[in-house]
Amino acid sequence: MLLIHCPYCKEKLPELEFEYAGQAHIARPDNPAEQTDAEWRDYLFIRSNVRGDHAEQWRHSHGCGRYFNALRNTVSDKFIATYEIGQACPTSHAEGEENNEQLES
């Protein structure tokens, strides 16, 4: 079971207290009415499928209840960083290699 650092509680706590909440840094457009169908489709549905470092939202649902951002490696499943909502992704973040190469089962 992973240990996840909640940036608000400032404590590393068991995965059981948290839930995943989707890819991070996808801002809702300021004026959806002005979005083209393609732009709105991308906002709704198009997500990266990273093999590597992935920025995502988590919620400390059985703790403080706050949403926060995390950078997690999808191969090792290790958390590289967690940070507050509204903060930029850590600059050290090298965009993960995107591919669908099948992992060993």
Binding site: M1, E15, P32, L44, R59, K78, I85
Partner: protein, 1000 residues
Amino acid sequence: MNNWRVDGKGRINRDKRVRFTFDGVSYQGYEGDTVASALLANGVHLMGRSFKYHRPRGPVTAGSEEPNALIGTSRSGAGRFEPNTRATVQELYEGLTTVSQNKWPSLNFDVGAVNDKLHKLFAAGFYYKTFMWPKSFWDKVYEPVIRASAGLGVSPTEPDADTYASRYLHTELLIVGAGPSGLAAALTAARNGTDVVFVDENRELGGSLLSEAPSAIDGKSTESWLAETIAELEACDNVRIMTRATAIGYYHENMVGVAEKLTDHMENPPVNAPRERMWRIRAQEVILAQGALERPLVFDGNDRPGVMMAGAAQTYLNRYGVKVGNAAVVVTSHDSAWYAAFDLADAGVKISAIVDVRTTVNDYLNSEAQKRGISAKVGHSVTSVSGTKRVSGVKIGRISGEQYVTDIISIPCDTVLMSGGWTPSLHLFSHTKGSLHWDEENEVFLPGERTERCHIAGGGRGLWSQQAAFDDGVHAAQQALTSLGQNAPGLSVDVDGDRAGSGIVMEELPSNDDKLARRAFVDFQNDVTAKDIRLAVREGMLSIEHVKRFTTNGMATDQGKMSNMNGLKIAANELGRPTPKVGLTTFRPPYTPTTFGTFAGYHKDELFEVTRKTNIDNWAEENGAVFEPVSLWRRAWYYPKAGEDMHTAVARECRETRASVGMFDASTLGKIEVVGPDAAEFMNRMYTNPWTKLASGRCRYGLLLGEDGFIRDDGVIGRISEDRFHVTTTTGGAARVLTMMEHFLQTEWPDLDVWLTSTTEQWSTIALNGPNARKVLEPFVKGTDLSAEAFPHMALRECTVGGFEARLFRVSFTGELGFEVNVPSEHGRALWEMLYQEGKKHDMCVYGTETMHVLRAEKGFIIVGQDTDGTVTPADAGLTWAIGKKKPDFVGKRSLTRPDMLLPNRKQLVGLLTEDPSVVLEEGAQIVEAGDTAIPAKMLGHVTSSYWSEALGRSIAMALIEGGFERNGTSIDIPMPGQTHRATVSGTVFYDPDGDRIKM
């Protein structure tokens, strides 16, 4: 007692005889025996039949990796039968009842053994190829036959009568495995004062020392050194020792799952003692000292009862005082089997020959063999084994060029001891995704890059001697302690008579016999032969992952502990590629088969899942309600009176409510308090409806969409004051809605000054519906006027009801005059009983969820999740009136104009009236064009809600149908088994379409 015991050998308690049965026959063993050792001591090798060919099988190992000797065990009392118990692990106790598996009618005479004669038919991939055709045979012929004959053992038929426990544990250092390296690591850490947890799957510590004792350790006998060491560790407050505790899985951040068996070895377990306990141990550092597993050799007949691992025979001798035969032939590619042969010879077993496939062995082994008069056949191979239910002899010959053998001779024997060398046990390391690297010289995979804070010691690193294991255990402990910031002094353990050794890795042994006729097993439990693996490669399986799935090699309950390396070697050879290039399949938890009960722990029966109950629930129970589960809630479904079935009870409840008044417990409705200066703005953004102009003291039906434009939830929302909304949600949707609100509030609109609080369980909600609802309620209300003029439909008041502070809503989910009273939840039952007494004056009924469903369906009110399914837009559901037209934005608004959302033939929610008014359609039934009898017919949609309407005296239904609105007044068909029903498409409001009744 019997002549298979060896005097002076073994760690069994010879003062305590234990009786047990196997297939109905009574046997005796000793305390300290396993079922396997006790049966062997009685001369029984045949313990089961194999899964596919039903070949007779005996134990091939003495440990938890056993693939063959799987038995059923029973304890007294129902629900305590367990299939597939490994006889090599199950400890003996008085009265234990065991049975063999995969046989009919008996172990000695088994009909399924005909499969063995037909083995050429049952080659790898047999199922994939044979049962393809004809298609219609799959359901009727193939699957029933396969199901009847498949499976390992027999499933228990009764619920498990035992209880299981679970615990968390935190420690500085966890050591897995109590052989020489584990013991040395534990001593090092214990003397340093480190917090240590030390686990081993066996009943006693010692590991390989119990099977093969060196002549002395630190100048003492192995037995006394071990006893002193264990005593020292037990005396340390900082060391927790767990035996019968298997580390089954290594999870993230050094969490190791340990399954501890507590009572399986006891004749009379303490009453209510848990059977097993799952420990979730979070360790700062982990030492894996799991040793190595001996590899079988692959030759014709290597699965016959009497053929076993040389190391296993040594364990049965030294640990259990059992000789596994009278005359043994040893076949090996590793030095270790020579030592096993010497131990057995010294205990009086005749070693007829040592057959070593290597071209030379060292002089020491040769001279030791000579000293004992053992014939050493170096450069020889076993070509076949005779005997079916027990070995009767072997044929051996001189290896002359690869796969060619000369000078073949027969040697009679009752036992064949094999050793293909040792495979480091890296299962737990593999769970961590630690990489393995191939050691070319020794042809083994060794631990490579680590992903967790763990250290491998001893046999797991390919170190074969006990001295090396002790030294490595000290080294691993020092590394772990350094990493903990502790500098521990080392220690030394000196072994006399250490038996270092080496060997080579073989594939199938050389033989002249027809390759296709040979029955040389690689995976014993899944009956995979060397021929099957070569066939898989020839049929194009290039990766070991494909070979595994095509042949099922390594997919048995031992997870390839015996078979993986041999399978890999044979596949690599057939492919002509180096072994590491062919790859190794991944090991996964659990390390050994683990009961479901251990994983479930306390989460069974009433603790499996919480049952949520309202404050009024116990009144419903006392008054004969029938309940139904709604999400986690238990809700009163209907209240039958004497002699009533569900249909008549619901019809009466409907009738009485519409005629006078009915009372309903609506407390499970989800409730969220939305508060703050920006509450109205937040509601505007979340819900489709306009909220700015909703006055305090008024309420409105609210519709919630996902950002994709589909309906997610609905409910009545009241404005308590300028900055406070009382939001209700569906019973099942409360948590989801609150999560969605929090997500938007925290991540998209953190600038809004709003607080969200779940108040579902703070309020008891009682609904009164019917023309006399006001009369029942009025006597209890203080502080507000209930008249139609002063308190119109969709109004709300804060007042007192029955002396309790209340939020009173005038709303209706039935189409009748309706009120919903919210009082602090602890007063729910008290108010309910007051209203119930008052209601008697007006022939009031109480009704449950079924009547609620019927009454709302008569009015065409939807239930989200029943009449919608996550692909329904407000327009599809006929709810465009609930959308605030002037609002620039709300969640999901932009999606409503995406091209696909505007298509005319979307599925739309309509009413259905069957031609035969007595037919109540099945919910979920498919709908086709009227008169469409083509197969397959085009499905237009499905029935979402369907009931008998007492008010209309006929059935009614709602359905989602393609282009449903356009079809109003036309016919459609609902084909059901035996009969097709015709219905007319209608609107969804069946009762009181003008809505006069709510205005009373």
